[in-house]
Amino acid sequence: MSLKRKDLLGIQDLSVEEINLILETAESFKEVSGRDIKKVPTLRGKTVVNLFFEPSTRTRTSFELAAKRLSADVINFAVSASSISKGETLLDTARNIEAMQADFIVLRHPMAGAPNGLARMLRASVVNAGDGGHEHPTQALLDLYTLREKKREIKGLRLAIVGDIAHSRVARSNIYALTKLGAEVRVVGPPTMMPREIERLGVKVFYDLDEGLRGVDVIMMLRLQLERQGIALFPSIREYSRLYCLTPERVRLAAPDALVMHPGPINRGVEIAPEVADSVSSVILDQVTNGVAVRMAVLYLLSGGK
């Protein structure tokens, strides 16, 4: 069994088998990252291009490491650095990159659907590193991997995703991944940040954080993204924080061994109280390690001869 696909655009159209395949493959790559010589020759001679239209040191570095550990060559395009700022369209930029014989384009873009359009037009494999509010598949995969490591079974796990669900690609990808694997997912946030008909994706909606956290095994906090909002969705950060900040008291409402996760970087004091942040930090570091392994698995599985 393998990933019979050219691209990884989202979790929504991955099957459970494909998700499991990626996670199992990631296990082997985690072992490689534990060696002294953290390199295997598998993608030797392949070129991976990181095309990032949004700033992101974390995700970009993670993909870069993943590609390099597979012995691929890596090029980083940051938006301002090339002709993109001269008004060249996304498609033209990507075609120019492909003409340099790129095998993979890892794309992070502020518009939903940008990787889908590229994948249709290019021969290279397109990996979605986050497109607007749509999906961030490798983040969800590494979250799943981390959860499996810590909690063993995803099926039946109770999770709460907290924050600006409407604008969060991390929330969407995780909702798809977790519901496919049989977890019980709750979404918690103010009504203005709750997307229409979200309950039809198989999740339970809560506006009250205390109620939403009761008894859950995992709390996944989202970053408050001020850059994505137009007319204010809530009156002030102060009010948001009072109602939705994860404090030690609120953590106690969850199951005793509840895990707290965050895609990073954390806004201390806004989404998470400083005291809680440090317990979160340790999981974040796991997520970072697992992120490289998962991305290596994705690059490997997409690289079948075409």
Binding site: Q12, T89, L90, L91, H109, M111, A112, G113, A114, N116, G117, M121, D131, G132, G133, H134, E135, R169, R172, P195, R196, E197, I198, R200, L201, G230, I231
Partner: protein
Amino acid sequence: MSVLIRNGRVIDPGRVNGPADVLIDNGKIAAVGPGLKAPAGAAVIDAAGKWVLPGFVDLHVHLREPGFEYKETIATGAAAAVAGGFTSVCCMPNTQPVNDNQSITEFILDKARAAGLANIFPIGAITKGSEGKELAEFGDLKQAGCVALSDDGKPVVNSMVMRRALEYARAFDLPVVDHCECTHLSEGGCMNEGLVATEMGLHGIPAASEDVMVSRNLALAELTGGRLHLAHLSTAGSVRMVREAKSRGVRVTAEACPHHFLLTEEAVREFNTNAKMNPPLRSRKDVEAVKAGLKDGTIDVIATDHAPHAVFEKQREFDYAPFGVVGLETAWGLALVLVEEGVLTVEQVVAALTSRPARAFGLAKGTLAVGADADLTIVDPEAQWVVDPEQFKSKGRNTPFAGWKLKGRVVSTLVGGRVVYP
């Protein structure tokens, strides 16, 4: 010059629906009836197995000239019109510059005459530059040849401006056409707000955006007694409100486009920019309501909102792609789907494309009465064909119906007694 169209089934809504011949003399309808004789020197068109209809009238088309000739010109738009069986089209003023004065109106009419294909009836802007602030010179526009007023592309946001427009237009007996959208509610949106937008992470335009403005416009029509025409209705709420207003005698006419009665928001999946238009494709519930509106006459007219764009413009990220789809060359085949689904009879579909739009804008078109202009469309009701955008006469290829298998096709179009298509 005489033309005899023989052996076809003539459908002239309200007048004829059956086998008959049509005799044309000097660009006018001379006679309609069975067994007509061809005068000496007449051209004869054999319409056996075909239907002979009044030429279609489209109240809502974007011809893009002046200013956006790379998307479409009046010539290419007129060619697309007659290829789709439309002998009269009303073109919206959102050109560059905006058609808010006599010169642009005359420019458009000149280009239309030069093309020599469909009749083009310009629609003038409601406000100067369509900026929504000061009324344009309606008298000037009417005299130059405009048949209606609209700021389409945009709504008239300021209710006072809309009120004044409806009032002032009464002096010229011109209908005022509004594109019903509350720009505050729709800001940043690129598709219908609902489950599909939630799944795709795209910002949605709620149905309420249209409902809010339809409600306002109906209240203003009632207040002013002006002639209101509502462009491209797409929501259940709009249809319900128009139905209610009409029942109380408010002077309003409404149009719906094929994409709003045949497609839902599902067509946008995979980020298909050729299914991106404004108002957007809505939910199944809204589509059913639009169909019901067509069935009971709440919606008077089928229009296309033909909106061509260059291919490269649509090949962009979904948010950046411009709104709009073409429609002149597919409208007839698509409208027939309503017959197949039992929503309308053939005669009702023909009326929605001919007599009713003509009546809504007071045009002496859309009929085969004796003495009327000889604008006719001959269709083959059995012809099966596949929509292929590469074959369009329009410069635009942006249709959500590419690959659709349709039954019923325009085979010939006459304007003023002259064959202009094929």
